[in-house]
């Protein structure tokens, strides 16, 4: 197996900037008539590849232009995304990372690299203040560890908000054992979200007005349309429930294409990242979501995708038309393009506000039609884990306000989910909540009847006529590597306040709580309950998250577990690495706003 020659193509910043400087509107990219030009042969967006065991990485600022305006990105060796690093399982890698940020950089003075999903000693994990002291200006930190795993991973900064500004790159580790599938081509497809705003300014904007990017709030016109379609009483009832919660069912993500330009391998749709194939070849696509705040829904119209690995580790092959990839997740898929000269790789954001596309083609410059983004979904009470019992709520006198109405309705309703075993909220269908959430100004809602939702493809992906990946379809190719029942259980609730843009676990922010302590060697269970209306990818550093199915059986080993609203999911953790590990939502601004904990594994 080798990378296509194009992968080693040089990096041409000036040309790339010229091309992306034309990116003044999304409409151009949809025409599908992009002419063959000489630059296309140079393939902007083909990453630098660095392979071996010795790496010198220099973090600095580089001017970039994705929107027509030049902005300062944070780059590794001048590249966005950062160079593709190829390691080999079983070798010891030496990575000398130098901070060359100029004094007074808007992205801070300190920097770091975290190797996402990689098992390593705690002081190599790259989280300033937890694993090491960070890399200060002019300093070089020597990361050195033995690679114990194979597969597709990525790396990114864990300092300030540099991950938003471009400091992310793919990691590909060649395994010792032969892989259980064959292919002739191998491409990394790293998706990300770019903004011309400084990340700190975006964070401040979210604190001032969190719904800034939601230009799809329901209007008077929507009310009239809904009343015609569903009847006046039902529409009034629906508006009443959402009004009581002081929320909007069109809030699918905090930051969307109103702010972001989506990138595929560091290129906009206009740049049209292209991977070449010959008809009949098997192509491996290593999808990595390196976004700060974006869930992508990915498909390649005309091709089935066979998912063979999730978060770097093999799964039983499962063939789908589409998958949702949360920030920080990776999926390896195999495709067999034939019968057409070009196929569009299409990634739209979960909120359906934008997309990024690239092409698989038999020659550079070819394109296939780019689909329109799907219709925008509207959240239902069921999505929020409130059972959708709008009518029963009418009878619940005195239950006005908050989520009380839906809450009361659920008390008399048996849990409809057939999997209501371990993962569900119990016989009464009622979810208990930690005391720290009670009356807490940082908690704006609580879910009442959450379910694992493992077989749910997700908001906006149901019944779309395509076969969409769900977590229930992911099965690790191996047995539970630990095999023990968890000796104890920690339940954590994902909480937040949309208006204040405050996020945390159990209503508490990172800075305000003590670490979660695990005993070295123990097997324990983490149960997560999502008490917010957002979807949170939760990432535990240093230790695997062994996701359980609804019956509590081992399902799939992951490093990042996505938690849709109204969900309750559990996973087993084997505390086999000493040290202080970060545990957080991988939506960058949620983490920065407090949705993070330290997990300390001690003897």
């Amino acid at each position: 197996m080798s990378f296509d020659a194009n992968h080693r193509g040089g990096f041409a910043p000036s040309r790339r900037r010229f091309v992306q400087g034309l990116m003044l509107g999304g409409a151009v990219s949809s025409l599908g008539l992009w002419p063959r030009t000489s630059w296309a042969l140079k393939s902007p967006g083909q990453p630098q590849v660095l392979a071996g065991t010795e790496f010198d990485l220099v973090i600095g600022e580089t001017p970039m232009n994705f929107t027509g305006r030049t902005r300062t990105a944070i780059t590794v060796n001048g590249s966005l995304p950062a160079p593709l690093l190829r390691w080999r399982e079983g070798t010891t890698v030496n990575l000398r990372v130098t901070n060359a940020l100029p004094p007074g950089s808007i992205h801070g003075h300190e920097t770091s690299i975290h190797w996402h999903g990689i098992l390593l000693p705690a002081n190599m994990d790259g989280v300033p203040g937890l694993s090491f002291a960070g890399i200060h200006p002019g300093e070089t930190y020597h990361y050195r560890f033995t690679v114990q795993q194979g597969g597709t991973y990525w790396y990114h900064s864990h300092s300030a908000m540099q991950e938003q500004a471009g400091l992310y790159g793919p990691l590909v580790i060649d395994p010792i054992e032969p892989e259980p599938f064959a292919y002739q081509r191998d491409y990394v497809i790293l998706l990300s979200d770019w903004t011309d705003l400084s990340p700190a300014a975006l964070f401040s904007r979210l604190k001032k007005m969190s719904m800034y990017d939601n230009y799809h709030l329901r209007t008077v016109g929507d009310f009239v349309r809904d009343a015609r379609a569903q009847g006046l009483a039902a529409t009034v009832e629906d508006r009443k429930l959402w009004g009581q919660m002081r929320m909007s069912p069109t809030d699918l993500s905090d930051v969307n294409a109103n702010t972001y330009t989506y990138l595929m391998n560091g290129t906009t749709s206009l740049g049209n990242w292209t991977g070449l194939f010959r008809s009949g070849e098997k192509v491996r696509l290593r999808f990595i979501n390196g976004s700060a705040m974006t869930h992508f829904d990915v498909r390649i119209p005309g091709l089935k995708m066979t998912v063979v690995a999730a978060d770097g580790l093999y799964v039983h092959p499962v063939t789908v038309d589409e998958f949702r990839i949360a920030a920080a997740e990776t999926f390896d898929v195999l495709v067999e393009p034939s019968g057409q000269d070009a196929f569009t790789i299409f990634a739209q954001d979960m909120g359906r506000t934008g997309h990024v596309s690239g092409t698989l083609a038999v020659a550079q410059g070819l394109r296939a039609p780019v689909p329109a983004v799907d219709p925008r979904p509207i959240l239902s009470m069921a999505d929020m884990g409130h059972g959708g019992m709008a009518h029963a709520a009418q009878d619940a006198k005195g239950m006005e306000g908050g989520c009380g109405a839906a809450h009361a309705a659920m008390a008399a309703t048996p849990v409809a989910d057939p999997h209501a075993g371990h993962g569900a909220a119990g016989a009464a269908g009622m979810q208990a909540h930690p005391d720290s959430e009670r009356g807490n100004p940082l908690v704006d809602m609580q879910t009442m009847s959450p379910t694992p939702k493992l077989d749910d493809p997700g908001i906006g992906l149901r019944d779309n006529g395509r076969n969409v990946l769900s977590y229930a379809m992911l099965h690790s190719l191996f047995e539970d590597p630990d095999g023990r029942e968890p000796g104890r259980e920690i339940e954590l609730h994902l909480t937040g306040h949309m208006e204040r843009f405050a996020w945390g676990f159990d209503g508490q922010k990172f800075s305000d709580v003590e670490p979660i302590r695990l005993n070295y060697g123990e097997r324990m269970r983490i149960v997560l309950v999502n008490d917010t209306m957002m979807t949170h990818p939760i990432h535990l550093h240093g230790l695997w998250s062994d996701v359980e199915d609804a019956q509590g059986n081992f399902l799939v080993r992951k490093h990042t577990v996505d938690m849709p609203p109204g969900s309750r999911r559990s996973y087993r953790v084997r505390a086999d690495a000493l040290g202080s590990w970060a545990y957080h939502c991988h939506l960058l601004y949620h983490m920065e706003a407090g949705m993070m904990r330290e997990v300390r594994v001690e003897e």
């Binding site: 300092s159 008077v220 009581q244 006005e400 306000g401 009670r438 969409v468 019956q551 706003a593």
Partner: protein, 324 residues
């Protein structure tokens, strides 16, 4: 002073009660389960109670994928799990001195941004007003500096009449603390430059978002002169489109006593109702037009009439709404 307060607290009380009822309803159900929950909460050892019984035989695989359903479930790691005391399939490595050294936390803490000081300034109204003697100017603004839970608020309101004479102007500085998911309690001082001679008040109130997304603010004031009053303001945003917003607004002022020099009398003083239609060119900048009607009541109305003024009045306004 006692008589002053009877007007002040009902308004505040009603607001707090309104939301408290909602909050209680929300928590009532969680409460009955709390004893049980605390046993199930963090760090408790209850493996037997919480551990699911593995039921490989009953495993029903419900997936949309036909392909997936054909897979061999026996090979999927669904073998019964071993008890916690059993030896793990993959042995736990014995920590070495190097492992222990690597696990030592560095000095200092992780630089989180979860309690950063942020700021917000909203010039809600900066408008030209069609008044009898020309075009007046009115403003109302609010700003804060602080964290999610604690903020320093500044509020200001005022008006100038057609000849450039400032009729009223005030500024408030308040410390605010989030006391409930949707409410901030504020307390501080208010300085009135006009009308009449300047005067100072102590202020206490609440601000927040009521169910159905009404923005509410209720404040009680007690002046150094002994005069007291309360103000209740409510706003709502009706989205005609996602940029064209119709904003009804009401402001009610109740006085605890007479202050003839400033033309106010005990009891319900005035009610102002506004309707503004703004177009958000950007989120941060929106021009608007609107109509405002004000009516004085009781002793306040009498005082106005004695001064040869109308006790009610309606005017057209046009202005900008800006935040940053």
């Amino acid at each position: 002073m006692k008589h002053d307060l009877r007007y002040l607290w009902p308004a505040l009380g009603a607001l707090v009660l309104f939301d408290a009822v909602a909050q209680d309803a929300q928590h009532q159900h969680a409460q009955h389960d709390h004893t049980q929950h605390s046993q199930h909460s963090q760090h408790s050892q209850h493996a037997e109670a919480a551990a699911p019984q593995p039921t490989p035989a009953a495993h029903v695989h419900d997936t949309a994928s036909a392909q997936d359903a054909q897979m061999d479930h026996a090979a999927m790691g669904h073998a019964p799990a071993q008890p916690p005391s059993a030896a793990p399939r993959t042995p736990i490595p014995v920590p070495t001195a190097a492992d222990r050294a690597a696990a030592v936390k560095p000095p200092g803490a992780h630089a989180a941004h979860d309690n950063t000081v942020q700021s917000f300034v909203l010039l809600d109204r900066l408008e030209a007003v069609d008044v009898d003697n020309g075009t007046g100017l009115e403003w109302e603004g609010v700003g804060w500096v602080g964290t999610d839970l604690e903020k320093l608020w500044v509020r200001s309101e005022g008006e100038r009449n057609g000849d450039g004479h400032t009729e009223s102007a005030n500024v408030e500085a308040l410390y605010g603390r989030a006391i409930a998911p949707w409410w901030d309690l504020v307390a501080g001082v208010r300085h009135d430059f006009k009308p009449g001679a300047s005067q100072d008040f102590a202020a206490i109130g609440i601000m927040g978002l009521a169910p159905y997304k009404f923005e509410l603010s209720a404040t009680a004031y007690i002046g150094t002169s002994g005069h007291s009053f309360a103000q209740l303001e409510a706003e709502y945003e009706t989205l005609l489109t996602n940029r064209l917003v119709l904003q009804p607004q009401i402001e009610v002022t109740v006085h605890g006593g007479n202050d003839a020099a400033r033309g106010v009398g005990s009891g319900l003083g005035s009610v102002e109702v506004g309707l503004r239609l703004r177009y958000e060119i950007t989120r941060r900048f929106a021009p608007y037009v609107g109509v405002v009607a004000e009516r004085a009541f009781g002793r306040t109305a009498e005082l106005r009439r004695e001064h040869g003024e109308d006790s009610d009045d309606a005017r057209l306004v046009a202005g900008f709404r800006i935040w940053f």
